[in-house]
């Protein structure tokens, strides 16, 4: 017993005063569309179709990059022959819709060579980050104060996201100091923290958990699979896909898996304490 107390005193507090702002060797890919020729190498290299290309007419191509589906595998960076894809070291990425996590650019295609020339960044669909944040605030934050009770639901994950969610409770990140607490029942929860892909076999349980959560409720989708189905795809016989295929999602935290600080950041965005201030649209625009 004495040993235990001494040990605790000697250890002191391990909690990091500011868990944010730590950069990673690899956050998400950033495309410099002005150097891109729409050659399609990155599209073929991407295992989750996070980068995909369409050619609506023979003279026009559209290339888009979605962080919702990115598993941070770095294959695109290596595949690009024109070094148009670089690495962002920021990991605290978070948004209020799938569209806000994706960026598209259009290209004029030379019919002879098939090479594309960058024309413009396409405007994104849906509300902007600021509008979506205002909507969430209007719906939720009048009722929720400075605390968030969270029920975590694994709706099909590989358990990688669970490892990092669990890490947010360790003494280093210590999410409880922000007023965030994991609760045992959805009936005690303000927010559901859902990892995916939502499987066919978890769909009913996920819906029931949502129904058991009192209003107003926030749904936070975690991980590439929770945001988009990830490597498992969407609409397969077993995997329905992203959480938004089943429930309305308020906050998306992409990554495979997102780091603890990114999850913490996303939860604080759901609380209205931090703003989802990062958008890939700002990068190339």
């Amino acid at each position: 017993m004495i040993g235990l107390i001494l040990k605790s005193i000697r250890t002191g507090s391990l909690t990091e005063a500011n868990p944010f702002g730590r950069h990673a060797a690899f956050g998400f890919p950033v495309m410099d569309f002005s150097r891109c020729t729409a050659c399609g190498e990155c599209v073929r290299a991407c295992p989750t179709a996070a980068i995909h290309a369409t050619q609506p007419t023979p003279e026009r191509a559209i290339v888009s990059l979605s962080y919702a589906a990115c598993i941070q595998c770095r294959a695109c960076v290596a595949a690009c022959p024109g070094q148009a894809i670089s690495v962002s070291t920021e990991v605290e990425v978070c948004a209020h819709s799938r569209e806000q996590l994706s960026q598209s650019a259009s290209f004029d295609v030379d019919p002879v060579t098939g090479m594309g020339t960058f024309r413009q960044i396409e405007p994104g669909a849906g509300p902007s980050l600021a509008d979506a944040a205002a909507n969430l605030k209007a719906r939720i934050h009048g009722r929720l104060g400075r605390s968030l009770q969270v029920r975590q639901v694994d709706a099909g994950s590989c358990n990688g996201c669970e490892l990092e969610i669990a890490a947010t409770t360790n003494p280093i990140y210590d999410l409880e100091r922000f007023g965030i607490h994991f609760v045992a029942s959805p009936r005690h929860a303000d927010a559901l923290l859902v990892t995916g892909p939502v499987t066919r076999n978890m769909e009913t349980a996920l819906r029931r958990t949502y129904e058991a959560t009192p209003e107003p409720r926030v749904v936070v989708a975690v991980g590439a699979c929770g945001c988009s189905g990830g490597i498992f795809g969407e609409g397969t016989y077993a995997a329905i896909g992203g959480v938004d295929r089943v429930l309305p999602v308020d906050v998306y935290i992409p990554g495979c898996p997102p780091r603890p600080q990114a999850i913490l950041n996303g939860l604080l965005v759901a609380m209205g304490v931090r703003e989802a201030r990062y958008s890939p649209r700002l990068e190339g625009a």
Partner: protein
């Protein structure tokens, strides 16, 4: 003919030449389905074989038949043996071996669920993988079943739980959504007051169609899928998949890559074991060591991040080698991080085993006897905690393990304490291994070149002793060299019946700590 093919042929009473050397350390015997039970008996009795996997293939387009395959570990001969038989699609069934070889129980039922090929004589031929609302005819792993099929939900209770009757006897349903941050599964306890009479588990809530998905993805992308079979075993499954592809394509992995793979696998082992030890403390509400273990684990993950740019070691394994390297200064940084870890880890274990309040909860709790573990075909940490001396790193050496001296800790208790101590001692051995490898990193490239196409109509096994136990992948290609079938066996699939066996007789409040002492993967099991 090698000595192994001769001795296996003799033990199985089959003509010389029937057992083929398929790849190094991997024998194949093509046989008739009716011969499977006798062969399984002889493999188990004469060759001390242990069943690692059992699965089906849909070869109707190529040979007009289904295939049923058993994969056995023959540790004495340091070889794996695959027994394969073809099944007539007109009468899709095969003789069950589950009555005698309990490890085959779930495997055979899974074959029935996903292929519609019945195990004749199975003692309990009910669904294991399919939930009640699956229509009977949806055979997801048949080749003619499109992966984007929308399977309708059918009402009905095809698979009721075993009832309990008697005064004061009742059922406790738990899950699939649990109280903690863990994966989904349903547990149904039959209890008389606090003591558990029996436990039934229903899994496959996180069935994501991974084996089908492998058939759809290009084989290079399959590596990323393998990393996501069970997120805590990213290196283990990625390596097992890479091994299978490398053996299939006859790619020789350079020695430096083999050594780095050992480093990655051991780093995965120690971070998981440390987390599990902390979680055991959490589950008995012993918060000081629980916090210490969480902090230690975070330190390990940050070391991973510094050295490899990834906390959970995703994206480190390549087909043909590794995608990372360790320069001399990185190696020194890792050595010093490990030395600091070791000191803290030793004091953590001391704190636990010296505390009566802790040992009271774990000693004699959740006992899986040696006999039960043998009968059920338990593997990995759980097997070694029940006195079974088995470890793929020694029995079927892969990567750079063949030349490394290390001990394999075995405990006899079979209880939570034994599973804790196996983990603690394995961490010690991992540190021994890591220091040895770090001191002698061969000077070669980190990856071999890999051909653009896989050979057509080929197959190979890949295996790894990951932190939880053996991960086995069997990969087969079609006539165009595309992936036709990947069978993934996570150690959890073999070990869930062990948990079911260890719980009865204990009290409900001890279930979390027993469950955590096995710490099985739902995702790896359900795939």
């Amino acid at each position: 003919m090698t000595s192994n093919t001769a001795s296996v042929s003799a033990a199985l009473h089959v003509p010389e030449g029937a057992v083929r050397d398929h790849h190094p350390g991997e024998l194949v015997l093509d046989t008739h389905a009716d011969a499977l039970p006798d062969l399984a008996d002889r493999v188990s009795e004469q060759l001390e074989g242990r069943l690692l996997s059992l699965f089906a293939t849909d070869d109707r387009a190529r040979t007009g038949a289904f295939g049923v395959h058993q994969v056995w570990s023959l540790p004495r001969l340091q070889t794996l043996l695959r027994l394969s038989a073809s099944i007539d699609p007109a009468a899709p069934s095969f003789p069950s071996i589950a009555q005698k070889h309990t490890a085959a129980n779930w495997f055979e039922r899974e074959v029935m669920d996903f292929f519609g090929v019945r195990p004749d004589g199975h003692p309990n031929p009910t669904r294991v993988a399919l939930h009640d609302d699956w229509p009977g005819g949806a055979r997801a792993l048949r080749r003619d079943f499109p992966d984007d099929s929308q399977v309708p939900r059918e009402p009905g209770d095809r698979h009721p739980f075993r009832p309990v009757t008697g005064e004061g006897v009742f059922q406790v349903p738990v899950g699939p959504v649990h109280a903690g941050i863990i994966e989904p599964g349903h547990f149904r306890f039959g209890v008389a007051g606090e003591p558990v009479l029996y436990l039934q588990v229903r899994l496959f809530y996180v069935h994501k169609g991974i084996e089908k998905r492998f058939e759809r993805l290009p084989w290079r992308h399959g590596l990323f899928l393998a990393e996501s079979i069970s997120g805590d075993t990213a290196v283990g499954h990625a390596l097992a998949y890479a091994h299978a592809i490398e053996r299939l394509a006859k790619v020789a992995v350079p020695p430096r890559a083999q050594a780095l793979r050992v480093i990655l696998l051991e780093l995965e082992r120690i971070y998981n074991h440390t987390a599990d030890i902390g979680a055991l403390a959490t589950d008995v509400a012993f918060t000081v060591p629980a916090s210490r273990a969480q902090a230690l684990r975070e330190g390990l993950l940050r070391t991973n991040d510094r050295l490899f740019g990834t906390r959970l070691l995703r994206g480190t394994v390549a087909i043909g080698g590794v995608k990372c390297d360790l320069q001399p200064e990185d190696r020194e940084a890792l050595r010093s991080a490990l030395r600091a870890f070791e000191k803290e880890f030793d004091s953590l274990i001391e704190l636990l085993v010296d505390s009566g309040t802790f040992t009271d909860r774990v000693d004699g709790t959740g006992i899986l006897t040696n006999q039960a573990a043998r009968d059920l075909g338990i593997v990995g940490v759980a097997a070694r905690a029940s006195g079974i001396d088995a470890d793929m790193r020694r029995d079927h050496p892969h990567d750079a393990y063949a030349g490394l001296p290390f001990k394999i800790p075995v405990e006899d208790g079979g209880d939570v304490r034994a599973r804790l101590m196996v983990r603690a001692r394995e961490v010690e051995q991992s540190l021994v291994i890591l220091h040895q490898v770090l001191d002698r990193l061969p000077d070669t490239p980190c990856a071999a070149s890999v051909p653009d196409h896989l050979p057509p109509g080929a197959s190979a096994l890949g295996w790894v002793e990951a932190w939880r136990g053996p991960c086995t992948h069997w990969v087969a290609t079609d006539e165009r060299g595309e992936v036709a079938r990947v069978k993934v066996t996570d150690p959890s699939f073999l070990n869930w019946p062990g948990l079911v066996h260890a719980v009865p007789g204990n009290i409900v409040p001890d279930f979390p700590v027993i469950n955590k002492s096995f710490n099985l993967s739902y995702s790896g099991n359900d795939r």
